[in-house]
């Protein structure tokens, strides 16, 4: 039975943010570069886009439409520079309107609506990560707003990252402060998961808050916040100078303001987070900091532009992935295979997934998973 193309769907996808839909010439490079080729998966970006072009069904499953981790590897290699993530996001948004979304994503969206964060934490608990330390409140005389990722606000393991960043900023004499419970999730992953409405609500609320507080410069602990503040907030009226903590700290270390002992001595592999590396083009700063700390940086086969995604982007951080399909499992083994003692990274999602896989793979004794900030705090000069 022949299929009849339904071009109205094609048009709708383009209107929802997938303007590039028909610019795809179906070469298939995206599908072949995709991290899903490393494991068994029915997700092929080319095929999904093809179905979208013709307005045909068959892509709406959790494994296909919601498989993409938005790692950006296909986008930066696409010969036509097609915004594949935009197309995928638009297609997700369309089926979301029909109520077809994986349950964990519905939960995350619901929590964002109710609490301003996807982790079902109470809004008033947003500052739980500051337990035991003093943090300055953001005000007119303060240079930087430190925006802590929801994951590091609520997840106990991740809170350590936020505290480490705070400690380093203090040590380097940075003028910084936090706003607190009024902050909402940046909305990056919620938007990629197809919930445009919630993104607009979260982002609108943040823009209003930041503008009211007179925010000019923002430090983020997560590359996801970095990307969305820098690229998606301006068109909503939020224009800020946004920098990831690793970028700022690398500059401070170079100026001598952040003083490190330089005696780490361990073999450290650096895992480039997709949103810091491929999405934001930050590759050297984290490595410079590891050098300054005296770590022996060992290269993994997949680095920088070709870094292997941890599997947590695009809303996948909220979804359950069977162990045999986890990119993070491949990644911790890759780090172990080059003799790394520490697998360092600079993203709360990556930490979460990599550390989980380090445990399930039985590497707890031989490979430590650390946020870059945690490693640097250990190396602070007195």
């Amino acid at each position: 039975m022949a299929e009849f193309p339904f071009l109205e769907v094609n048009e709708a996808i383009r209107l929802y943010g997938g303007e590039d839909l028909n610019a795809c010439m179906q070469c298939g490079l995206c599908a072949s570069l995709c991290p899903w080729r490393e494991v068994e998966s029915p997700f092929f970006a080319r095929q999904m886009i093809r179905l979208g072009q013709l307005g045909l069904e068959g892509y709406e499953t959790d494994e296909v439409l919601f498989g993409c981790t938005t790692c950006n590897k296909c986008v930066i290699n696409c010969p036509r520079e097609v915004d594949i993530i935009g197309i995928m996001r638009s297609m997700r948004a369309m089926v979301a309107e029909a109520g077809i979304r994986p349950e964990p994503l519905k939960t995350a969206s619901g929590s964002c609506h109710a609490n301003g964060n996807p982790w079902s934490g109470k809004r008033e608990d947003r500052m739980a990560w500051t337990q035991g330390i003093e943090v300055p409140e953001y005000g007119p005389d303060i240079e930087y707003l430190l925006f802590v990722c929801c994951t590091s606000c609520y997840d106990q393991r991740s809170q350590k990252i936020a505290r480490s960043v705070a400690r380093l900023l203090d040590a380097a004499g940075v003028s910084w402060g936090v706003i607190g419970p009024e902050e909402s999730c940046c909305g990056e992953s919620i938007r990629k998961s197809g919930d445009e409405e919630t993104f607009q609500k979260l982002a609108g609320s943040n823009v209003e808050l930041f503008n009211r507080k007179g925010v000019k410069k923002i430090i983020t602990t997560s590359p996801h916040c970095l990307k969305t503040f820098a690229s998606e907030y301006p068109e909503l009226g939020g224009e800020y100078e946004v920098i990831h903590s690793s970028q700022l700290l690398a500059g401070l270390a170079a100026e001598g303001k952040l003083r490190l002992k330089g005696d780490d001595g361990r073999k450290v592999a650096f895992h480039d987070p997709c949103y810091l590396g491929r999405h934001s083009g930050v590759f050297d700063e984290p490595r410079d900091l590891l050098d300054q700390a005296g770590a022996e940086v060992v290269a993994m086969p997949r680095e920088k532009d070709f870094s292997l995604c941890c599997g947590g982007g695009g809303g996948r951080v909220w979804m359950e992935t069977p162990p045999e399909q986890r990119f993070s499992v491949l990644r911790v083994n890759e780090a172990a295979s080059v003799g790394a003692e520490v697998l360092a990274t600079a993203c709360p999602y990556c930490i979460s997934l990599l550390e989980d896989s380090q445990k399930t793979e039985g590497l707890s004794d031989s490979l430590k998973v650390m946020d870059l900030s945690e490693l640097l705090v250990e190396n602070l000069a007195e």
């Binding site: 048009e11 028909n22 010439m25």
Partner: protein, 633 residues
């Protein structure tokens, strides 16, 4: 004739063996070849060099000649096609007759195909043969023929007009011969050219104005080549001018009050008043440029529904329809019917595959890619989407080949403009049926981009992107003995080394008579053909290789066997002499093939540069070399 050129002096042969960087010396023991050559009769010096073609290599030869050490040269290196001319040049610079030279190919014929000791033995044998022949060489002089400062260009399209203009710019008189009453050729059938989007009419008007206003160019419309003879520098041509009939007459009726030089859309540039009665024109031309163009493939009835369904048309037809549309409405309207959706099908009559596609009545297939249809289709698709945003456009393709400058943009822009593509396999092409749910036609196509799943497209129009076919030039091919390739287009000597020349000197190719090309490529080819023709004619005389047949009239008995056998019309003629009929060679027409030598029972014919005596010397040398392992003669 200088002493060096005399050839009367006892042979003193210089042998120079090339390493070709390791290309030869990795498999041939150069020392041994040089040593054995040094021991051969008449060899005065035997030397080697890493690259004989380099300046130091050539200098070695020149020094030996100037020092009087040698009076014949043998170089053993690559194929003569590459460097024979190089070494003849070096010899000329040293003041010696360049034909006292023999070449041994020990790369393509030895080191690239043989390894081990046999390679060295064979190289030594080839060198011995060359030395044997060199001992028998006579000095020769190139054949010089007077060149008429006039060129004839056949075909009045972009190729012909460009070539005519470029020839005239070199100071030559030009006859531009066009079959129809109009200039412009197939480009007249276009609306816009790609990639610039320039109107075809403007392009042709500009080109035709240059041609029509140039005093050196005479345009012969309504003319065809009736008779052809002669040779480079002096071709004798007879043109037949005929009053227009049929389609041409119908087109002429559209002229109205236009004046000569004016462009009429989808007709061409009207050049002048056509002849009222048949007439003949005789010309003497130094060179001929063929610019006879192509024809569009015409689908046989039933191919993709063509001829059966009124809604199936060709791309040239669509272009003409669109040119007449002002784009006022949101949808394209054809024959009063609104087109909500249309499908363009690529590769119609191009890239045909034996066993899959139906051969033409003559048994031929167009296996070539026509090179312009992809971009032309995409250009049309972009224009359709722009002018008629409510008309959906599908492109059904096998591969997209938008290879030229700016052409990929059409592909990208078509996608961005919402054109939807589907890719089909040659063995599973789209099927066209009348009727559909809301459409005039239904096109069913297994889409390779969906693992072969069938798509059903409801469309109101199907457009076939028809390819280019060689024009039926049989008359011209027979008259001028033109080489035709397996693809039935006219065939150049060598695609890279001599891309616009034919084996017969003085005849050149310009444009799509040679292969499918776009208009820019046609203009390039025309410029090249004009430059090549001009280079020969502007010298006033043409130099030809002296390797032609020579008849010893004392031995000739006038049997005429050589005339019968000769492959080049007019190269040998029987003439009356006091002793009866005797054969005589016209050196300008002789190709030097040697067939006449073989058929002459009297051994009265020799081929200069390849005499029977020289052959015998070569054979003797090979026998001596292989039997006696380099024994001295």
């Amino acid at each position: 004739m200088s002493k060096l050129n005399s050839g009367q002096e006892a042979p003193k042969i210089g042998v120079y063996v090339c390493h070709c960087g390791g290309n030869i010396s990795d498999h041939v023991e150069i020392d041994k070849v040089v040593e054995q050559a040094g021991g051969l009769a008449n060899v005065a010096v035997a030397r080697e060099n890493s690259f004989m073609c380099s300046d130091p290599g050539q200098e070695m030869i020149i020094e030996d000649i100037e020092a009087g050490k040698v009076n014949r040269i043998v170089v053993a290196s690559c194929a003569p096609a590459l460097h024979e001319a190089t070494f003849r040049g070096a010899i000329t610079r040293a003041g010696m007759n360049p034909y006292l030279y023999e070449h041994a190919n020990i790369r393509e014929q030895v080191s690239w195909v043989h390894h081990g000791p046999g390679a060295t033995d064979k190289a030594a044998a080839l060198v011995a043969a060359a030395v044997g022949k060199a001992g028998e060489l006579e000095p020769l002089e190139p054949i010089r023929v007077e060149a008429e400062a006039h060129a004839t260009v056949i075909g009045g399209g972009v190729a012909g007009m460009s070539a005519a203009r470029d020839l005239a710019a070199q100071g030559l008189n030009v006859a531009l011969v066009e079959k129809s009453p109009f200039l412009g050729g197939q480009v007249s059938q276009l609306d816009k050219t790609f990639p610039s989007g320039e109107a075809a009419g403007e392009l042709l008007s500009a080109l035709a104005a240059q041609v029509l206003h140039d005093d050196r160019i005479t345009v012969y419309t309504c003319s065809e080549l009736a008779e052809y003879s002669g040779y480079v520098g002096s071709f004798k041509l007879k043109l037949q001018r005929t009053p227009p009939s049929g389609q041409d007459q119908e087109r002429l009726s559209r002229i109205g009050d236009a004046s000569p030089g004016q462009f009429l859309p989808f007709v061409g540039v009207w050049a002048d008043q056509p002849p009222e009665a048949s007439e003949e024109v005789e010309l003497t031309s130094g060179a001929v440029v063929l610019a006879t163009g192509f024809e569009h493939y015409t689908p046989p009835q039933g191919e993709y529904g063509y001829g059966d369904l009124a809604e199936v048309i060709t791309l040239p037809e669509l272009i003409q329809i669109m040119a007449g549309e002002t784009g006022g409405g949101e949808q394209l309207v054809v024959n009063g019917k609104t087109v909500n959706s249309l499908a363009l099908i690529h590769c119609v009559g191009s890239r045909q595959i034996p066993g899959i596609h139906q051969p033409a009545p003559g048994g031929t297939l167009n296996e070539h890619c026509s090179r312009v249809c992809c971009t032309a289709s995409l250009q049309a698709a972009c224009e359709l989407r722009e002018k008629f945003p409510e008309t959906s456009v599908f492109e059904l393709y096998r591969d997209i080949r938008t290879y030229g400058r700016g052409q990929e943009d059409y592909y990208l822009n078509a996608g961005r403009a919402g054109v939807v593509f589907a890719r089909f396999a040659p063995e599973a092409p789209p099927r066209i049926e009348a009727g559909g749910e809301d459409s005039a036609l239904t096109v069913t196509v297994p889409d390779q981009l969906l693992a072969g799943e069938e798509l059903a497209l409801g469309v109101d129009l199907v457009v076939l992107a028809v390819g280019m076919e060689p024009r039926d030039n049989q008359g011209l091919v027979d008259k001028m003995k033109l080489p035709v390739g397996a693809d039935r287009f006219l065939l150049e000597v060598h695609p890279k080394l001599r891309p616009v020349e034919l084996p017969a000197a003085g005849i050149y190719l310009a444009g799509t008579c040679q292969a499918p090309m776009d208009t820019s490529e046609v203009a390039n080819a025309a410029g090249a053909a004009a430059a090549k023709a001009g280079a020969i004619l502007s010298a006033g005389q043409v130099e030809l290789d002296p390797f032609v047949a020579q008849i010893d009239q004392a031995k000739c008995v006038g049997s005429g066997a050589c005339v019968e056998a000769c492959l080049s019309d007019g190269a040998i003629e029987m003439i009356d002499t006091p002793d009866g009929k005797r054969a005589q060679v016209n050196p300008a027409l002789c190709m030097g093939c040697g067939v006449c030598v073989a058929v002459c029972e009297q051994d009265a014919i020799e081929l200069n540069g390849w005499t029977l005596g020289q052959y015998e010397a070569m054979v003797d040398a090979i026998v001596a070399q292989t039997a006696g392992q380099g024994a001295k003669a």
